[in-house]
């Protein structure tokens, strides 16, 4: 299967090793009826490849059910890939021993999707922040206290003494999310995977958290994978945007280029569907595809977007899966519209 990788917008020195490389990753879930009868397979992640370099931020956008969280969890080792490989600093995760996994886990911080489920209700802020250190063998009390102080300052949970002994329910939504970020940062990760970190928050708090993450990214030269269904927040964050549909990445574009001209018809639809506050919006209807995203148990043949696509090339799009085509240095899309003429 051809898989033409899209070049990065900025020039990478020849010898630089990506922090993370994901190769043809598949994560399928078996669905069983009554516990044992195999009823089908959900192809939650179905052939995803990309590289991420130190200090780079990418956004992954797509609607619910397209496989974003599965991608995050597979990278984190929560799900085992059905096929494909994940390389962290050039080491294949499947070659890691127990010690290697420990080290890997401490290099990747995770901000999970549900902020309420993320925090154990009966643990104090201090214990929540101590926990990952205990698991990773940082048992020196002084060292623990030092790190806690440092991350709490970084996420602005200050004055620290006011927060240390509080329980999650005593914190506001924004403070809870800052605590989740502090916990993700406490082992000094190189990469942060943030799964819809601001979706549940009010507009103002959302900005506060996004700016906080931006600051951490700069300060620690973090790699960040920012997962969101909200296209309007990505500009403030990432150098590249991947859009996902039907368990695949269907566009990889530099952020500026995508905001100027989204390429895949699905990304174009997301763009059109996003409303900026504007009184002019009253005057027109939106031209967005109707219908529903595909079933991942029984995905359509050919391009997974073809049943909803207004630009469909009959006989091609509904028959063959489009490979990733490179459009220019900054953009690529898995869509037959971008097939070069022979």
């Amino acid at each position: 299967m051809p898989n033409v990788a899209v070049n990065l917008p900025q020039e990478q020195p020849e010898q630089e090793v990506p922090v993370l490389r994901v190769e043809n990753l598949h994560t399928w879930f078996e669905i069983r009826r009554m516990g044992f009868i195999k009823a089908g397979v959900v192809r939650a992640l179905d052939g995803v490849s990309f590289e991420l370099y130190q200090g780079e931020t990418i956004s992954i956008v797509g609607e619910s059910g397209c496989g974003k969280s599965t991608l995050a969890k597979t990278i984190l080792g929560i799900h085992h890939p059905t096929k494909g490989a994940i390389y962290f600093e050039n080491r294949n995760l499947s070659d890691l021993d127990k010690q290697g996994w420990k080290k890997y886990r401490s290099s990747v911080g995770y901000i999970q999707q549900d902020p309420y489920g993320a925090l154990p209700p009966f643990m104090s802020v201090q214990r929540i922040l101590e926990e990952p250190m205990k698991i990773n063998g940082i048992s020196n009390k002084k060292e623990q206290a030092k790190r806690i102080r440092q991350v709490m300052e970084e996420v602005k949970l200050a004055p620290i003494e006011d927060f240390l002994y509080k329980f999650p329910h005593m914190l506001s939504g924004g403070q809870q999310q800052r605590l989740v970020i502090a916990r993700a940062m406490i082992l000094g990760p190189k990469l942060l995977i943030a799964d819809e970190p601001v979706s549940m928050l009010d507009a103002s708090v959302r900005v506060e958290i996004l700016q906080l993450m931006q600051g951490l990214q700069k300060k620690h030269n973090l790699g960040i994978i920012y997962i969101t269904h909200d296209l309007s927040t990505v500009r403030y964050f990432s150098e590249r945007i991947f859009s996902m549909y039907g368990a695949k990445i269907i566009e990889k574009s530099a952020t500026k280029a995508l905001l100027k001209q989204p390429r895949h018809p699905y990304t174009q639809a997301l763009f059109e569907a996003t409303s900026d506050p504007d009184a002019e919006n009253l005057k027109s209807f939106k031209e967005v595809p109707t219908g529903e995203p595909p079933s991942l148990m029984n995905p359509p043949k050919g391009c997974r977007f073809h049943p909803r696509c207004s630009k469909i090339i009959k006989g091609l799009c509904d028959k063959e899966m489009p490979p990733e085509f490179k459009i220019n240095e900054e953009q690529g899309a898995a869509c037959w519209l971008y097939k070069e003429d022979e």
């Binding site: 609607e63 619910s64 506001s172 924004g174 009010d202 507009a203 103002s204 708090v205 959302r206 900005v207 506060e208 996004l210 700016q211 269904h229 909200d230 296209l231 309007s232 927040t233 500009r235 403030y236 905001l259 639809a269 997301l270 763009f271 059109e272 569907a273 996003t274 409303s275 900026d276 506050p277 504007d278 009184a279 919006n281 009253l282 209807f285 939106k286 967005v288 595809p289 109707t290 529903e292 995203p293």
Partner: protein, 328 residues
């Protein structure tokens, strides 16, 4: 052409009794809404948007400590109606509501059709089942659902379709006013955009008046003619959508707009440090004052509402009775 005011709310209050004190969820809210227009009510979660809707529809929990003011609907003060009369003549038949997350509260073991005709038959004893079915088919068409879905059960419909079904249910009685509480928040982007198209179509074709409650100002702008901003139980601004997004009056409204990310325009996002005050014993003065950059001496007193030109109103000391900006 004289404009008809469909809804005229004056000094509406809804307080809840709790163990720690009285929650002033809706505090002295006044506004007027023209027939055929859509009012979007925006503000952070907990500012009282849902409570305002409940106060208008008299859908009250048990722990009410204050419920007062007047609601003139179509020329009648419906606050004076008995509960029985309100239920018979106002709720659903004239003012319908699509509650928050209602698409998940359809009865799972009843066909959609039966759920839709039930209220029609209950409200009008003389209505035949055939006539009710005709109406239900009609509203299904209006919201853009295939009528054969009427025979299905809720679980057989996607989230977006179920949301349309609940809107169809609200429209079945041909109400003059429809209150939608966060109708699209739980939906995916494309589904949400399709739903806004449907609402827009209904608005144009039937001249329906809407109150749209949302925390998403971008989506609100698809439907809203007027914007009301709530903060800590009070309506701090009521303005025409024509200028609200670019030239809001209240300092809170301005900051709120500055925190909304935009896709098509690169702007510096801002946030408002701090949090809204508790609605139990809120501050005496302006409730926003602790977070307001424009705060001055007068703000320690409670600001009254100033009427500006074009029917706009703002609750802020920067504007005096003549509507002139003083300290901006």
């Amino acid at each position: 052409m004289s404009k008809k005011i469909l809804l005229d709310v004056k000094n509406l209050k809804l307080y809840f009794r709790t163990r720690s004190g009285s929650v002033q969820a809706v505090d002295d809210v006044s506004f007027r809404l023209e027939a055929g227009k859509t009012l979007a009510v925006v503000g952070e979660s907990g500012c009282g948007k849902t409570s305002l809707a409940k106060a208008i529809l008299r859908l009250l929990p048990r722990n009410i400590s204050t419920y007062s003011g007047s609601i003139i609907f179509d020329g009648e003060d419906i606050m004076k109606y008995s509960d029985e009369k309100f239920r018979r003549e106002i709720r659903w038949s004239n003012i319908a509501m699509v509650p928050q997350a209602s698409m998940n509260s359809l009865n799972p073991v009843m066909r959609i059709e039966d759920q839709l005709i039930e209220p029609l038959l209950l409200h009008d004893r003389h209505m035949s089942k055939k006539k009710a079915l005709d109406r239900v088919n009609e509203v299904f068409n209006i919201v853009g659902l295939p009528t054969d879905f009427l025979r299905r059960y809720p679980f057989e419909l996607s989230g977006g379709m179920r949301q349309r079904a609940t809107i169809a249910m609200a429209l079945a009685s041909n109400p003059k006013l429809v209150v939608l509480d966060e109708p699209s928040s739980a939906l995916d982007l494309l589904t949400q955009a399709n739903l806004m198209n449907v609402l827009k179509k209904i608005k144009h074709e039937f001249n329906t008046t809407f109150i749209l409650i949302t925390h998403d100002i971008g989506t609100a702008s698809e439907l809203a003619d007027e914007i009301a901003v709530m903060y800590a139980g009070e309506m701090v601004e009521f303005s025409s959508a024509d200028y609200f997004y670019t030239d809001a009056h209240h300092p809170y409204s301005r900051k709120l707009m500055a925190s909304v990310p935009t896709l098509r325009e690169d702007k510096e996002l801002q946030f408002i440090p701090g949090q809204p005050p508790s609605l139990i014993n809120p501050p005496q003065g302006c409730r926003y004052s602790a977070r307001c950059e424009k705060r001055f001496e007068k703000c320690s007193m409670h600001p009254k509402t100033t009427e500006l030109e074009h029917g706009a109103q703002v609750k802020c000391w920067l504007y005096d009775e003549t509507g002139e900006v003083k300290h901006a």
